[in-house]
Point group: C2
Chain length 681, copies 2
């Protein structure tokens, strides 16, 4: 995984200059993830009706499909009605506009070569790659750099060589807490491929549901899925779809905790005999497998055997997180077993359990992964640790000799901004690691837990932020310019729509629904500056929401990383450093809009009472915008502030951090900065 950092920076700077000087729509620098090496030239490969693609070398079906899709996706943008249909054979004429040369088809496995070279001249686009995986990545890069000038569409002259920094670049999708049907899975896989992610972590067993058909244990879905599950044929379809896009599918069956659905279906697995129902709320629950019974191991051996055959990937995830241990403590037979076997506590019992699962899964030729709770003294070194509880255990596990994967910092369900995730590095310079240790960092995984996300809103929780994480896992660690990341995130966001992502369109749709058929404008203005409560604040005490709750409210239409709010914060920062008139005008424009919006919003609430819960946000926004406007006047010396004014403003700003509809305002601190900048004599 070599890369040439200084050379790259040099070219980037050169390109910035070229781009500004020559043509604002040359997209060489708009891609995400940023490639390792980019060399430009003045060529322009025009996209015309006779555009064609050909595959040479020793390709597999994957490259044929991907090249055909590339052709269609390109034509859907340029609208030229290319003549070529499906690509299904080697074409040795070498005359095609896009020539894809592949040395050999890849095995979908960790550390497979994903590198590629993309060369564009006036007459041809040449992709060369050791494996088809590289060729797929190259085509995604190609589609990202399509450019426009006065003569029309073209691909800019470039020589890109590229390879990922980390071999494991994943996204976990939880299909249990809310059901995610096939179309969600497929468009998620398409989006992943577009940003060069290569592992789909399929989280399908939970307290609320078990969502993959077992033919050996059919009750798992008959009693544990309420009709919403994937048949084995559908799982095969998902795996084939993913494989076609160069994405591995790693299954997770979470044991011994988070297993209420399994226990409801097969109560003999339970630690405590009681009536089991699927969990309807979200959080951490007590039902736990009885790991002292032989039945449990026979059951898991059979189930894992079936699932190991269904999922071809070499890795198998056994969860292991958030076992409360209470059911073990309350079971006399388990306590007796522990005493008999000298097992001191629940942690040790879980480690004993894991140690028995390991040979079972090894028997099925699987490598085992688990969440970082499984990292207890005595856990075998060949279990891969997925870290979610913080960076320290992650690096501790690496230093102890484990191979590990980072998810801490990539919990996209927690509604944190993209720049937060972007700056989390799996192998930061601040941690002293040997080369050997560094090699044991496989990469990372974004995690999409779906407590507060339905099929309608899940895309807006995954995209575009996950593209920033994808870049962190693919590109050089020195690529950390947050502003440039946000600039490119806006571009990739629109490109993801082409692949079916609903993150933009469902936001508009939900606003129409929330506005009850009336004009959405007042709602839009408010939504632009609010975000859902972050981390675990939205579901206070784990009691506000359950699986029947409506997820069509203002907290569902609001998204992370609200652009208007971010841009306002940047404007204020810029203004306070250098109070330019143009910036001042932009700021007051925003503030006036917000101040006046409340009247229109209140009218809308009369017509759509579901918005009532957001009234406090709208009122507070109006009030603090008013103070912001006054602050701007004072800052411009147009009036003289009083101590009373500043005290009142400060009080109002404090009040404005109150939540409404499980959201809060994202411009409070920026307005506070304006108020604080006002000097009272």
């Amino acid at each position: 995984m070599e890369f040439d950092f200084m050379r790259k920076i040099y070219f980037l700077l050169f390109l910035v200059w070229c781009t500004n000087a020559v043509n604002a729509q040359n997209n060489v620098l708009n891609g995400m993830p940023m490639p390792a090496h980019v060399q430009t030239n003045n060529a322009k490969c025009r996209v015309v009706k006779s555009f064609s693609a050909a595959v040479v070398g020793h390709p597999g079906q994957r490259v044929y499909s991907a090249t055909t899709r590339t052709l269609r996706r390109l034509d859907e943008r340029v609208g030229l009605f290319f003549k070529q249909g499906n690509i299904a054979n080697i074409d040795t004429s070498h005359n095609a506009t896009l020539l894809v040369q592949v040395h050999q088809p890849a095995q979908l496995q960790l550390y497979e070569d994903e590198s590629y070279q993309l060369q564009i001249s006036d007459t041809q686009i040449r992709i060369t790659a050791p494996t088809d995986l590289g060729a797929l990545h190259a085509m995604e890069t190609l589609l990202q750099i399509l450019s426009v000038d006065a003569q029309g569409y073209y691909f800019p002259g470039v020589n890109i060589t590229d390879t990922p920094r980390f071999a494991w670049r994943g996204l976990l999708l939880d299909v249990c807490l809310h059901w995610m049907p096939m179309d969600v899975i497929k468009r998620t896989l398409d989006g992943m491929a577009a940003v060069k992610l290569n592992v789909f972590h399929f989280h399908f067993s939970e307290d609320q549901a078990f969502r993959v058909e077992s033919k050996v244990y059919p009750l798992l879905t008959q009693l544990g899925a309420e009709g919403n599950f994937f048949t084995q044929d559908e799982v095969k379809e998902i795996i084939a779809y993913a494989s076609d896009r160069g994405i591995r599918v790693v299954p997770e069956i979470d044991v011994p905790g988070h297993a209420t659905a399994m226990i409801k279906a097969y109560p003999a697995l339970a630690s405590i005999p009681r009536k089991y129902e699927l969990q309807r709320y979200y959080g951490v629950f007590d039902p736990t497998l009885d790991v002292t019974k032989e039945y449990t191991y026979q059951f898991l051996d059979t189930l894992f055997g079936e699932m190991a055959a269904l999922f071809p990937d070499a890795y198998f995830h056994i969860g292991g997180d958030e076992n409360t241990g209470k059911d073990w403590e309350n079971s006399p037979s388990i306590q007796a077993y522990m005493q008999q076997h000298g097992i001191a506590n629940g942690h040790d019992l879980q480690t004993a359990f894991n140690s028995r699962l390991l040979p079972i899964l090894n028997k099925y030729h699987k490598k085992v992964m688990g969440w970082d709770e499984i990292l207890q003294p005595g856990v075998p070194k060949d279990i891969v640790i997925q870290s979610w509880r913080g960076g320290d255990p992650f690096y501790a596990s690496i230093k102890q000799g484990y191979t590990a994967l980072l998810s801490t910092g990539y919990y996209i369900d927690l509604i944190q901004p993209a720049d937060y995730h972007y700056l989390v590095d799996p192998a930061p310079d601040s941690i002293l690691l040997s080369d050997e240790e560094r090699k044991r960092i496989l990469g990372g995984e974004a995690t999409m837990w779906t407590e507060h996300t339905t099929a309608e809103t899940v895309d807006s929780r995954i995209w575009p932020r996950t593209a920033a994480i994808a870049e962190r896992l693919w590109s050089a660690k020195e690529i950390r310019d947050v502003n440039d990341m946000y600039r490119r995130l806006d571009i990739i966001s629109l490109r993801l729509e082409e692949l079916g992502s609903t993150h933009l369109k469902n936001k508009a749709m939900l606003m129409r629904r929330l506005s009850n058929g009336y004009d959405t404008k007042a709602l839009e203005v408010l939504v632009d500056v609010i975000e859902p409560l972050k981390i675990y604040e939205r579901n206070e005490g784990d009691t506000m929401y359950n699986v029947f709750s409506p997820y069509t409210k203002i907290a569902d239409v609001a998204t992370p990383d609200q652009k208007v709010a971010r841009s306002f914060r940047n404007l204020v920062d810029a203004y306070l450093v250098n109070p330019q008139v143009s910036v001042q005008k932009e700021i007051t424009g925003h503030l006036q809009l917000w101040q006046e919006n409340d009247a229109a919003f209140m009218q809308l609430v009369q017509r759509s009472p579901v918005l009532q819960e957001a009234v406090i946000l709208s009122k507070n926004l109006s009030i603090i915008a008013g103070y912001g406007l006054q602050a701007m006047q004072y800052l411009n010396g147009k009036a003289q502030p009083t101590t009373q004014w500043k005290a009142a403003a400060t009080t109002a700003l404090k009040k404005a951090s109150t939540q409404g509809g499980r959201c809060d305002l994202q411009v409070v601190t920026a307005i506070e900065k304006l108020v604080n900048a006002v000097k009272v004599k």
Copy 2:
């Protein structure tokens, strides 16, 4: 199917008065289809957090599911977090807010009782229905009349008794010309249920593809579907989903023409030995089954037997349309057979074919349907005729003793306006029919052929116009007020979004794509007044499009029934009758916007050359808007027109009907009216 028309009109008028007088957001009159009898009272049944639903009587699973869905859909609108989970049992307490009483579960079959009564008092909503089908319809009506006042959400006091005019209210969806995946099917079924349609006509065999798995003839999909087909499990899922919503699924296997995919998979079926490939273009093709071979009958017997078992509905559609007869004419063996058996021509041969299929399908307990071409002398009377080629053959078939279904006038793929479809009546007063004959009119079916429609655009071709057809098939024939239909269509259009329809959101999405990341405003202004070429004009000579063509262009973002254009036409008509200042201002506002829009649009085209094809539309719009503005000045006596001016305007208007991007302007005739109204001395 009695109904009380004068009483209804009386109540409607009364309601209009009440509605205007009391509360503009009482939605009793906003429903679609309009119920048969509506009686209002002053009650208001408030929707509060403790809202609950219960089912009593002798319901089946269908009512439990539907009531649960109703609860969730309501909560997703009002956002109150109802406490009730899934409904799965009889609740004899009779205390629920919504009480659903069902006499017995329905068989999903023609002429099953679909009537219901819906009574709303201050404290309770009571639905009573002979079958669960009626209860399902009642719940859709209920969700349509949710109202709002200053105290919040309520259901208005009402006593509705309702029953459909026609027993067969269908929608054909062609999944062959373009692939339509499961999510399209499901959301289409949800939309159908919302407007009380009850037959899903599943058109899955064509020249371009065969899209339902056969286990007996697996090559049908292995060679005939390019990977895009429904497995038998998925078909069962579709049927269950439809059944859950009270919708029958009628399969169509189109024979002996439109059968290229079948022939490619099993060439022994062919009339002419040649190399067969799936058709890539659209239109009518020669490949035809050889109906003189015993193999063909054995094949169809086996295939129909398999499909008859898969699809439980009593009806089975054998297509029979658009057989060119050429392959039969060119086959020496077929010609010899015809001579030998005294068969005079292709029509007679097809009739002989149909006569042999009939007993095969009867053996599998199926009634047979076919397109109106099969209506030839000698065709058995128990074949149901589906008319698509015009009203005359339809009524002729009725008079000849056939049972028939109308699709002529309901071809929604042809982009005609909703009012055109709305006014087509399957049993109009203008046709003299006996009661007996009238009874043989089963109803009608909207047909969604998908040549020029992908999964991304199909919803905008189906909705909301199909709701107008649904009303025609359900409601009294006297309900024909086009303006009121359009008013309600806007409302139902938004309600259909709640069920997942993408007809609004994908329009916005396609505009973002077409604008290449730039502001979509100029494109929106243009798109608002253009529509795709209608009837069969878009695909000139059947050569412009094929299965690989991009359907992401301006003709795909443009929809039928553009509201801005329609409203402008209405404004002009109103103005020419009564030139009010307010109307004049609205008209000139539109014209100015259009005149000025071209500059912004041209800038956008520079950045997004895919829009180049629409430049002519934008230019012409700008030009004729200019003439329109001048006409308005002349009409206001502010200037004196010249003969030259009028001639120039007329020429420009003539030119403005030129297509661009397979669309045309929808405001030309309206502006022409303004110009024509100008008197030159």
